[in-house]
């Protein structure tokens, strides 16, 4: 349980630090170009990795289960510019129905 509070404290502080670093260092040195480029690309790389782990991961193995259908729905909904609430709840609904039928 202590680990959970350590995670919460560390993420609260680091999130604030990341948000405030730019606005409070105004007049200070900006990040070098190469670092800014990496920062800009980090979210894409990590979000894609999270999608993979959360869709196919089960502990330390890869599995194909009903989540895949829910995520497939999410991809279609997102490309059709559906609101986020539809994307997220639709994915859950599709997965739930697939489990009920299997």
């Amino acid at each position: 349980m202590t680990a959970v509070w350590v995670v919460i404290g560390a993420l609260a502080l680091s999130t604030a630090a990341l948000k405030l670093a730019g606005p409070l260092s105004l007049g200070g040195r900006p990040l070098p170009e190469w670092a800014l480029t990496i920062v800009e690309l980090l979210a894409s790389a990590l979000l894609a990795a999270l999608v993979v782990v959360e869709t196919f991961g089960k502990g330390r193995s890869l599995v194909l289960d009903a989540r895949v259908l829910g995520v497939a729905f999410a991809v279609v909904a997102v490309t059709r510019r559906a609101p986020m609430i539809v994307v997220v709840l639709g994915a859950a609904a599709v997965t739930a129905v697939a489990r009920l039928l299997s």
């Binding site: 680990a3 959970v4 995670v7 919460i8 560390a10 993420l11 609260a12 680091s14 999130t15 990341l18 948000k19 405030l20 670093a21 730019g22 606005p23 409070l24 105004l26 800014l36 480029t37 990496i38 920062v39 800009e40 690309l41 980090l42 979210a43 894409s44 790389a45 990590l46 979000l47 894609a48 990795a49 999270l50 999608v51 993979v52 782990v53 959360e54 869709t55 196919f56 502990g59 330390r60 009903a66 989540r67 829910g70 995520v71 729905f73 999410a74 997102v78 609101p83 609430i85 994307v87 997220v88 709840l89 994915a91 859950a92 609904a93 599709v94 997965t95 739930a96 697939a98 489990r99």
Partner: protein
């Protein structure tokens, strides 16, 4: 020229639909976090961290049995984009350090994007307004999720485990625009796929950062 209060109210109106979606996502966060974190910690986390990507990312690592260090690292890397967003926002903020900090703290993706004037400058009062319904939705939704979670039975029967990846798909679709970001996303996905069966939980997500470094070193 409208006053700051007026622009903040306009931002709140713009933020209401975001707030509703955020509420639903926060309910699922509360439901999924309670078995791992207990009833109080998820609410405290939503109040003080207020970041969907970092909270779901850290929770995913903890749920999979990863260490606190791996969960923190995943959350920090997922939030690293706030550094770039803050640097972009900085020239639009006026006043003393405390007032600049007060405007910068409520930064979240949807608000930051909505407050962009499209010429590299931002409307700080409008941004704070757009964030207000999202913050309310995030905290209230987490409380609701923690409270109803135990009555829902098996969260997987409701497909709640598909909420995580669907939420990340939605964020990714907004984020991965342009060739370099798509390459970073494809590389990150590939690294996670290859490493998941071989290394402990959490590490595949951290290792995906290498795809961002690799993509940044190429001219496209």
């Amino acid at each position: 020229m409208e006053g700051a209060g007026e622009r903040r109210r306009a931002g709140i109106r713009r933020g209401l639909p975001f707030g509703i979606a955020v509420f639903a996502i926060a309910v699922s966060f509360g439901v999924l976090a309670r078995p791992v974190m207990g009833p109080v910690a998820p609410i405290v986390m939503s109040i003080f961290v207020f970041s969907g990507a970092a909270q779901f990312g850290a929770l995913a690592v903890l749920t999979a049995g990863g260490s606190a260090g791996a969960a923190i690292a995943a959350g920090v890397l997922l939030n690293a984009r706030y550094l770039a967003m803050g640097l972009a926002l900085a020239p639009s903020l006026r006043g003393r350090a405390l007032s600049r900090a007060a405007f910068a703290m409520p930064t979240v993706d949807a608000s930051w994007a909505a407050a962009s004037r499209g010429d590299g400058t931002f409307d700080p009062s409008y941004m704070v307004g757009v964030s207000i319904p999202q913050y309310a939705g995030w905290v209230l939704g987490t409380i609701a999720g923690v409270l109803i979670g135990p009555r829902l039975g098996d969260p997987n029967a409701l497909g709640l485990d598909a909420l995580f990846p669907a939420f990340f798909i939605a964020l990714l679709f907004d984020e991965a625009r342009g060739r370099r970001r798509l390459v970073a996303a494809g590389g990150g996905a590939g690294i996670a796929l290859v490493l998941t069966p071989v290394v402990p939980a959490g590490l595949p997500i951290l290792a995906a950062a290498a795809a961002a470094v690799a993509a940044s070193r190429r001219r496209w």
